[in-house]
Symmetry: C2
DNA sequence: CATATTAGTGTCCTTTATACAATCAATTTT
DNA sequence: AAAATTGATTGTATAAAGGACACTAATATG
């Protein structure tokens, strides 16, 4: 029987890089947008890519994801962070093997975020999920975005994550628009409100939003925690 | 502005181990069972743990998962393999930082598998998911199993993965028992059959299974591919 | 031939999903 | 001030799906 492999035997012969990629979604101008950065370095210099970076020794994967995000958006706290998938066989970096743990990140005040250039990114910009630019790393990053979007759709169906994409106070129309942007289809207003109000999801606050037309009742989340429902929203 | 980190700057100072853990589920004696191994080495020597091992340079994460599984079960092909989660901040190994990518694996002929001792495992054994032994690595491995089970329940609801836990030909009662084992609750026979037969899921073959009682119609999967349904099974 | 064992089948009721349009409260225009 | 505009708010009827529930059928065994 062969003897067990020691740490050195396992690691000495090959290079392993650990990266965290973050798919950042925001709801801007009634559209679902995703944050991309223009790469400063090879590979894929000059092309748009999903923000991310290498994990440091002393930080967890989540911490690395949040730090990278902070560096690129100035955003210091997360409305919602979820691990998406780990990509391990992609030979996308000529310098060695890269294990990339991808996260989904939702922000609730995308308009207020000022996008910074960072160590690795020359520029950061929001893109409509339906009109993405050509991405670095070929089909790989595009696939990650599609997968992230798909996951987001699922999550919207049976949880309250949608509230992570809105400010503290919002109208039911605002909420419906977020759903419409993520599902990428129109929803019937009466049926939507019926469902939302039937579950313990939001509650009215003593305030209205006055823009054009009839003032709209403002609501807030009943909980700031992630909540999973059995039925479908 | 700081300059970009080179590969060496990122990696030279810390050790990174990449592991694949595999939660193997099988349907045995009408129960949902999970495969555990008794550890041969520290940490946690002598305790039961989720099988797994280190990823080699030349193999993908999936390949590593399948290889480890093969070494421990003799199983050479997978009925179903799905990435579960990546654990990255667990300081469970004193030798350095371990990034562990966990997979769910379903086997369709657990009775026929002969369990081998391997490099890292002294012994491998099936355990009822409802009466697990004390595990190595404290609460961590237990949590992984719970999470894997939860994921499996979800997947059963909207896909045909259940068929990956049965032989090629099976009766509707067999299928129902798999669902009951995974959901850990009784299902009404008539409602179950109504649902199963209402979707394009299985088709009868020209053969019956004769054991005790009335002979049962045998069925086969309409497709061997993973299939996602919109409604709930 | 009686009994044991497992397979197979249908109806009613409740819940949920979907389609669909008029009225209300404010602002803006004329 | 009347009319037009903008967006908010509300209910009903029909269809689809889910859940509860009990008897008959086909084989083997004693």
């Amino acid at each position: 029987m062969p003897k067990a492999k020691s740490f050195n035997e396992v690691t000495k012969d090959w290079r392993l890089l650990l990266a965290a990629d973050i798919v950042v979604f925001g709801f801007i101008e009634n559209k679902l947008k995703v944050l991309l950065v223009r790469r400063k370095f090879e590979p894929g210099v000059g092309a748009w890519a999903i923000p991310g970076g290498f994990v440091r020794e002393t930080e967890s994967l989540e911490q690395a994801a949040l730090r990278e995000l902070h560096e690129e958006t100035g955003l210091s706290q997360s409305a919602y962070l979820e691990q998406l998938y780990t990509f391990g066989d992609v030979k996308r970096d000529p310098r060695g093997r890269v294990i990339s743990v991808a996260y989904i990140h939702l922000v609730n005040n995308p308009e207020k975020i000022k996008l910074n250039a960072s160590d690795d990114a020359a520029e950061a910009k929001w893109f409509d999920i339906n009109s993405l630019p050509t991405l670095a790393f070929g089909k790989s990053h595009r696939d990650i975005l599609e997968y992230a979007w798909q996951r987001l759709k699922w999550k919207f169906e049976y949880s309250n994550v949608a509230l992570s994409m809105l400010p503290d106070k919002f109208t039911l129309s605002d909420l419906q628009k977020v759903y419409e942007a993520v599902y990428h289809k129109k929803i019937d207003k009466r049926n939507f409100r019926k469902k939302i109000l039937a579950i313990d999801f939001v509650e009215p606050v003593d305030q209205v939003k006055q823009e054009m037309g009839r003032p709209a009742q403002l609501y807030k989340a009943t909980t700031t925690k992630l909540k999973i429902y059995n039925h479908v929203i």
